[in-house]
């Protein structure tokens, strides 16, 4: 899914409300936190190992033993959902972390150096940005056998421009402000100005993009697992749980519905969180002083 579009245009508010998240924002944050917690505690919470089969009870409905029932080969759906959460949330987290680790410095460097470096980098970022993450991942998987690592690394490359472009734009806006020029005139070096002054001022804008990037990475990774190119059996993630078409055709969509619900809830919560963070942040206020 192309990333260029999911960036909601930031709208400034007359006054930055202290509780910037507001009720919707907080519920979204709680939901996301709950999902992360479930994923982290999966080994202790999951009643059964991820691949323990019980061929005697395929497609069993919800029961005290299996709260959400079992799949085609009698595996406990709840356990697979919990274990799956580790990959479906851990993967995107790694993707976003890698993108930030590389994207922030790259964006800052490009904004500060300007000139040729900036133009060349902008060009590369635009091209990589135009190619959806899924295609880059599919290509990577084709090169190094299908698996989680190539998929995550490829998505990190695909999401790098997402962070780098936002960082570069925000840093370029700060770069021209008088307070940066005043620091230059004091003799302060470029690196120190970037790290101690520009970065703290743009971190808010950049981090506001993290939830949306996380959501998109989650969708891409789950899609790859759905295509059988990321998580390989017997491991499971939410994408794999939905990919079992035969169960669907035999009229047992329960597993797909639960996994689908988990994905949609997380992604929607992340999207609302991202909206609130972006809206709460005044776009660089254009001061209309007299003359």
């Amino acid at each position: 899914m192309t990333l260029a579009l999911a960036l909601p245009a930031g709208r400034s508010r007359p006054r930055r409300a202290r509780g910037v998240l507001g009720p919707v924002g907080w519920t979204a944050l709680v939901l996301v936190a709950a999902m992360v917690l479930l994923a982290a505690l999966a080994p202790w919470l999951a009643p059964y190992p991820v691949d323990q089969q019980d061929l005697l009870h395929p497609y069993a409905g919800p029961s005290p033993a299996h709260w959400l029932g079992t799949d085609a080969t009698g595996r406990d759906i709840l356990s697979r959902l919990l274990w799956g959460a580790r990959t479906s949330l851990g993967g995107p987290a790694l993707v976003v972390a890698l993108s930030l680790a590389v994207g922030l410095p790259t964006g800052l460097l490009a904004a500060w150096r300007g000139g040729l470096v900036d133009a060349a980098l902008a060009r590369v970022l635009d091209v990589v940005f135009a190619v959806p993450g899924i295609l880059i991942a599919v290509l990577a998987v084709a090169v190094f056998e299908p698996g989680l690592t190539p998929a995550v690394l490829a998505l990190a490359v695909a999401y790098l421009p997402y962070v780098a472009r936002t960082t570069r734009a925000a840093a370029r806006a700060q770069r021209d402000l008088p307070y940066v020029e005043a620091l230059e005139l004091q003799g302060m070096g470029g690196l120190r100005i970037c790290v101690r002054h520009i970065l703290p001022n743009i971190l808010g804008v950049v981090l506001a993009q993290v939830p949306v990037a996380f959501a998109l990475a989650l969708v891409d990774l789950a899609s790859l697992s759905f295509l059988g190119l990321a998580v390989q059996a017997p491991a499971a993630d939410w994408g794999v749980l939905i990919s079992d078409t035969s169960a669907l055709l035999q009229g047992h969509p329960e597993q797909a519905v639960y996994a689908g619900l988990a994905i949609v809830t997380t992604v929607v919560a992340l999207t609302f969180l991202g909206d609130r963070l972006t809206e709460g942040r005044p776009v660089a206020r254009a001061r209309k002083e007299k003359r």
């Binding site: 899914m1 192309t2 295509l227």
Partner: protein, 309 residues
């Protein structure tokens, strides 16, 4: 848009496509699995067969020569021969591409119509209607294609039987896939359209129009919408291009024989020539659309248009 500027943009696009093709080719060239092991699998070929095959796939030539040769042949529409079944890649592409194009075309139409039809009213009329719609659209934007595909199959194909569930062809077979493909993208376009319309409605020149007593119908039609169109067209272009990536997922979900499912099956069978060809095609589509959208956005902006006059 001066001709010089046009040439510079097209030039930049060609450079990007060339660079992308190099990356695509180089990555598959560096693939750990050697082409031979894929071609011969477990059978051990005789020396002559081995030599013939190596020559046919030019495996012994240095990397750059193979790249230039590959590029030359691609330019003539010859994508080499598939590792699987010895069929020429071009014919396999020819067989599958139309389906994908039809799917993306239908989905593209749905995307633009739904996206703008929802986005504009949401942007223009704040208040309860807008908040309800915004929430619904935000939720729909959160449903990935493979989830919506599965749900649509479960309800309309398996449940109600209105549409073929799997592996269908012809128009009826494309309705559910196109809907599933367009769903999340149209929600995104609606959000972007809403944001753009809302941003323009707050601009000073709208205040002027209202201060002059122009009816709100005129203010919207002549001032807000034309100015809001720029970002919407840019986003729309990029989203339509992205449908090709979404098609990879949808075609596999519905079992449709398109470029997407061919790509995934080629990856699983390590059929590098086919993977290379499809990847190159898709990358060219994305870079092309990105450039066209950039040109369209700049062409729409009166300032740019007039600099050439």
């Amino acid at each position: 848009m001066t001709v010089r500027e046009l040439l510079r943009t097209v030039g930049a696009m060609c450079v990007s496509i060339l660079a992308a093709s190099f990356v695509v080719f180089a990555s598959l060239y560096a693939a750990p699995g050697d082409a031979e092991s894929v071609l011969f699998g477990s059978t051990t070929p005789t020396d002559e067969v081995r030599a013939a095959v190596r020559d046919q796939y030019r495996l012994d030539d240095p990397f750059l020569v193979r790249y230039v040769h590959w590029l030359g042949s691609v330019a003539h529409g010859d994508f080499g021969t598939s590792f699987v079944g010895g069929q020429s890649v071009a014919t396999r592409l020819g067989a599958t591409a139309p389906t994908t194009l039809a799917l993306v075309g239908l989905a593209g139409l749905l995307l633009v119509v739904i996206g703008i039809a929802l986005g504009v009213p949401m942007g223009l009329r704040p208040g309860r209607v807008d908040t309800v719609l915004t929430t619904v659209v935000a939720v729909v934007a959160g449903i990935p294609t493979f989830v919506s595909a599965t749900l649509l199959i479960a309800v309309f194909a398996v449940g109600l039987g209105w549409f073929p569930a799997y592996g269908a062809d012809g128009l009826r077979g494309l309705v559910l896939p196109a809907l599933s493909l367009a769903l999340v993208s149209s929600a995104m376009l609606a959000r972007i359209t809403r944001a753009s319309v809302r941003a323009e409605s707050g601009r000073e020149y709208v205040t002027t129009a209202r201060a002059r007593g122009l009816p709100s119908r005129v203010v919207v039609a002549r001032h807000i919408l034309p100015n809001a169109a720029g970002p919407v067209i840019t986003a729309g272009g990029l989203l339509v291009a992205a449908l090709f990536a979404g098609a990879i997922v949808v075609e596999n979900a519905f079992g449709i024989a398109g470029l997407g499912s061919l790509l995934v099956s080629s990856v699983n069978r390590q059929d590098f020539p086919t993977v290379q060809a499809i990847s190159l095609l898709l990358v060219v589509v994305f870079v092309l659309t990105n450039t066209l959208v950039d040109l369209a956005a700049r062409g729409l902006d009166p300032r740019q248009r007039r600099r050439a006059a």
